[in-house]
């Protein structure tokens, strides 16, 4: 579980993203350089409108890059995207669960697999495992409107995992949940991450959440976003709720708080 920077899951090299508009262009990311080690859990914090979502969208290939490169396990995103292998490389979870309301829980999880045209048996077995993993048994036939916010978000994570991606991107995945559910979902996510051995990059606004979950917290500056702080979180794993009350945890939280205000 210790990050090995020798073989990074994600490398950003001089990455810039601009939006061209009728009234001039807006530079959102400016010459960003960092890498994320394989199997590490990294959180990204920064001011609103700073460009965090933009970065995630660039990594998942939804928007073009103006300059620089994004490299996933050694291969540039653009190349991967064309090779159609892409969908096994990056899974994305948005702020809202983003489920298709006309699909049942089961069908929502199987969506990426159907798109990838896997065999029905293969799909069934994978989805079955994921339902189990995320503790969604008994709700397979429920439609999204019948699910609570926490369950819907769990389905969204299951859907992203269905692709079995090397890199999991999460954009404020728990923002819609209340405080208690949020804590629970965080623990859940950590458990899955430990079991599945994925690389995770997650955007959040909650400092304690970031500290509790990650191996490393990145702090973005205001727009154009640059790396302001790169804080390793050397708390022992596996972690449980008590770690929140340890002096180390409190100190890390305080440091991030200071950096942000």
């Amino acid at each position: 579980m210790t990050p090995s920077t020798a073989d990074p899951a994600l490398e950003l090299i001089q990455l810039s993203v601009e939006f061209v508009e009728s009234d001039g262009s807006l530079e959102v990311l400016s010459e960003l350089n960092f890498e994320i080690a394989k199997n590490s859990f990294v959180c990204l914090i920064g001011p609103s409108g700073g460009g965090k979502s933009t970065l995630l969208r660039a990594i998942s290939g939804l928007i073009p890059v103006s300059q620089g490169k994004i490299i996933l396990s050694g291969e540039p995103v653009q190349v991967i995207k064309q090779k159609q292998k892409y969908r096994t490389r990056v899974g994305m979870v948005f702020q809202k669960p983003n489920l298709m309301p006309w699909r049942t829980l089961w069908q929502n999880i199987s969506l990426p697999l159907e798109i990838a045209k896997l065999s029905p048996e293969e799909i069934a077995s994978r989805v079955y495992d994921l339902v189990e993993l995320m503790g969604l048994q008994g709700f397979e036939k429920s439609y999204p409107h019948e699910l609570s916010g926490g369950m819907a978000q769990r389905v969204a994570i299951a859907r992203a995992l269905a692709q079995d991606p090397d890199l999991l991107l999460l954009d404020e995945p728990f923002a819609q949940l209340d405080a208690l559910n949020r804590e629970r979902m965080g623990e859940e996510l950590m458990r899955v991450w430990e079991e599945k051995q994925k690389t995770v990059l997650m955007v959040t606004h909650a400092i304690d959440e970031a500290v509790f979950l990650s191996d490393r917290v990145l702090v973005f500056s205001k727009r154009p976003a640059q790396l302001m702080l790169d804080l390793p979180i050397s708390l022992e794993r596996p972690r449980n709720n008590n770690v929140r009350y340890s002096p180390k945890f409190v100190a890390l939280t305080q440091e991030l708080h200071a950096a942000l205000s």
Partner: protein, 272 residues
Amino acid sequence: MTEPLKNEHAQRLSPRISPLLRILYPLGSVILLLALWQVLYSLLKLPAFILPSPKMVWDKFLLILLNGTWWHHLSWTLLEILLGLLIGGLAATLIGYGLSKLSFLERLMAPFLVGSSSLPMVAVAPLLIIWFGAGLGSKVLICSLTVFFPVLVNVLVGLRNTPQELHELMRSLNASPWQKLTMLELPAALPVLLGGLRVGTTLSVIGAIVGELVSSDRGLGFLINVGRGQYDTALVFVAVLSLILMASLLYYVVLLLERRALVWQTWRKDHL
């Protein structure tokens, strides 16, 4: 791990209506209407060819029901309507999808869509009959046209309102255009599309009747013409009531289809 269902609240708070009441209410309405009609008849003392009594209309209905006339005409009108719905609905869906992909064309067409929805079929039906003959074809054409525009507008609105985030999701999953169509766009547009079809059904009935009134030798519109020509107002009433009933039934059939197809929507039960 089991959390409460999200809209447990909402469901409990929505007004419940027992199945008995659901039948009793429309029944009540009909009885009310009949009573009102009878009172009006007895009070106004108009000649029967101006306002027949409910009894006269009922007798006339039984008569033409038993000798097959009723079904002969009703089935013809129904055929026109269903063909019109099928052709108009299908054409609107296909063309709507095409237009939605070519926003340039859509803008070009927008004024026609507004204009044509206000085009009174009764004014152009004669032109259509001159151009396309007086047979089944021109009636189906009129029906198709009346159905076409509301469905087209709804297809456009439905496709346009597909959540942007779901489009992003599909893109992030590298979905092919065909997969986007079948897995996202069609299901997303379905509720609005069916809504358009529902409105279209009502309009289609009107279209068929208008076509028949202008020229025909079969159908409920023809029956209205005959009744009026022979001062058989009871027959006119039977025909008008039949077509209202038919329109309402068709409306509820589409509504039912809608509910079945859209179980995934929190269905608004109080939807008219």
